[in-house]
């Protein structure tokens, strides 16, 4: 087994080797090929990305749809969760509805939303909220309440109401799991929102991707992939930092 510093060293050398071959092959041997653009071309395309493709505005559109919807969804469920009475038959039936979406690829629902609402930014936001709700709902369904049964009993014996128990204990114990599930599905969330934007063809990273594909602009596609990878990586680090800071007991 390799320890962490060794792995880092190996990764570093692999990147150096990749860069070396990339430069040699694309700048010197196969300059102007249509399979993989050279580094100099990609650097030039970055300028294009910002000026012709309005990268910043489109990035804001995607980023806000993803992260605002995370915030909104957690907030809505956090407020609603304590009042969901598990003993109510009607609520139990209603809670079964989202299970239908576990088996339908979300992008199909997204396509339907685009058909109905076309260019709306808010429908993208709604779509992201819908996907995140499914993630959270799955976590809530999977959560093993028997792990905290004793804690709940102890608090119930202090005449604490059912709503308060759900708000102050059950939800609090689920929160780190929900957040962890969101981090695990973070890249998937990006992918599905980009796919939505790609079909919607109105704004966002998916829109740039579609336009660059239409213009056969391979250099822009590659530079977009690199930029998005960096942004997603940084966002994931930030989410992990928030997770460690706010759910320190987990």
């Amino acid at each position: 087994m390799l320890d962490k510093p060794d792995k880092r060293k190996i990764n570093f050398y692999l990147i150096i080797i990749f860069l070396f071959f990339w430069i040699i092959l694309t700048e010197l041997l196969f300059n102007g090929n249509s399979i993989f653009p050279s580094p100099s071309l990609i650097i030039l395309s970055l300028q294009d990305l910002f000026s012709s493709y309005d990268f910043l505005l489109n990035l804001i559109s995607s980023v806000s749809a993803i992260y605002i919807s995370i915030f909104i969804t957690i907030l809505i469920i956090k407020i609603k969760y304590p009042f969901i009475n598990n003993n109510s038959r009607i609520i139990n039936y209603l809670m079964q509805i989202p299970k239908f979406f576990f088996i339908v690829p979300e992008i199909l629902i997204g396509t339907l939303l685009i058909y109905w609402f076309r260019d709306s930014y808010f429908i993208k936001l709604f779509y992201a909220v819908f996907i995140i709700s499914i993630f959270i709902y799955q976590t809530i369904l999977k959560y093993d309440l028997s792990k905290i049964a004793d804690k709940i009993d102890a608090v119930k014996s202090l005449s604490v109401t059912e709503e308060m128990v759900r708000k102050k204990i059950t939800w609090k114990f689920m929160e780190p799991e929900i957040f962890k599930n969101l981090i695990d599905n973070h890249v998937y969330l990006w992918s599905t929102v980009i796919a939505f934007e790609f079909i919607q063809n109105s704004d966002g990273i998916g829109f740039i991707l579609r336009s660059s594909l239409e213009f056969n602009d391979l250099a822009v596609i590659i530079s977009l992939i690199i930029l998005i990878a960096i942004i997603v990586y940084a966002a994931e680090k930030l989410l992990k930092f928030i997770n460690d800071k706010y759910f320190f007991w987990n």
Partner: protein, 260 residues
């Protein structure tokens, strides 16, 4: 009412996963006397007999199917239950864990009283620690202090010392005895541990399994000050033997009086 609790013909059934109803308690009757100066009453029963269910019913967490429960006039609606496993919240500090639920109910405890309780249960200087940084003995102390701030006269402890080593158990026993005397508490303790019951309790009940019924009770007037001297004493050996014999005769089981 002069007794602490009078339970008559208590029956409790559960729905099992296969849909079949299982009877945990069937027509269980029990009268626990009220002790003016406080007391620990133990209920010894084998695992799975329904000890936790009984305590939860007394506490009001679980509903029962039929029967009657009456409490002494001094017993408040809140009857704190301390379960077998750790029941404190990891995101709150020791002090917050103790006062959290009281604050949520818009009730207050004075700083003096809080500090006194914290001192009495042995948590002084640990107020700002988080539960994950302290051992299970301290976690029990927090749960106990949380029960104490509710000024309830009765506290229900469900086999909470099973996972403690002997030193920790000894410290907790000493703390319990002190606090019961000081606050004149009525504690009902369920356990599988004969030694623990004899050391702590003035009154001991023996409960069988399938069906759960109280088949023997004894008054324990011995005051033991040290666990190590108790286990070598003749009176301990006598009571311990008596309990073993009763279990053997009634249920055909042998309980171990743990010393590990």
């Amino acid at each position: 009412m002069t007794d602490l609790i009078v339970i008559k013909d208590l029956t409790k059934t559960f729905n099992q996963q296969n849909g079949v109803r299982k009877t945990i308690l069937k027509n269980l009757s029990l009268t626990i006397p009220f002790y003016e100066n406080g007391n620990i009453t133990s209920i010894i029963a084998p695992s799975g007999a329904g000890k936790s269910t009984l305590l939860k019913i007394i506490s009001g967490i679980e509903k029962y199917d039929s029967g009657n429960l009456d409490f002494h006039n001094s017993v408040l609606k809140i009857k704190p239950f301390i379960p077998q496993s750790n029941s404190i919240l990891p995101w709150l500090s020791v002090k917050e864990n103790i006062t959290h639920w009281l604050k949520l109910k818009n009730e207050k405890v004075s700083d003096d009283k809080l500090n006194q309780i914290i001192g009495d249960v042995g948590l002084t200087n640990y107020e700002n620690y988080y539960p994950q940084n302290i051992n299970s003995g301290f976690q029990f102390r927090i749960a106990f202090a949380r029960a104490l701030v509710f000024t309830s006269k009765i506290i229900l402890i469900d086999s909470a010392f099973n996972n403690f080593d002997l030193d920790t158990r000894n410290e907790i026993y000493t703390m319990l005895k002190f606090v019961v005397d000081k606050y004149r508490l009525q504690i009902i303790l369920t356990t599988t541990n004969i030694m623990e019951a004899i050391y702590l309790s003035g009154k001991i009940y023996l409960m069988s399994k399938n069906p759960a019924e109280i088949f023997f009770e004894l008054k324990n007037e011995n005051k033991f000050n040290e666990l190590q001297t108790m286990v070598t004493s003749e009176s301990f050996k006598f009571i311990s033997q008596q309990i073993q014999t009763e279990f053997q005769t009634h249920s055909g089981i042998t309980l171990i009086h743990y010393l590990d």
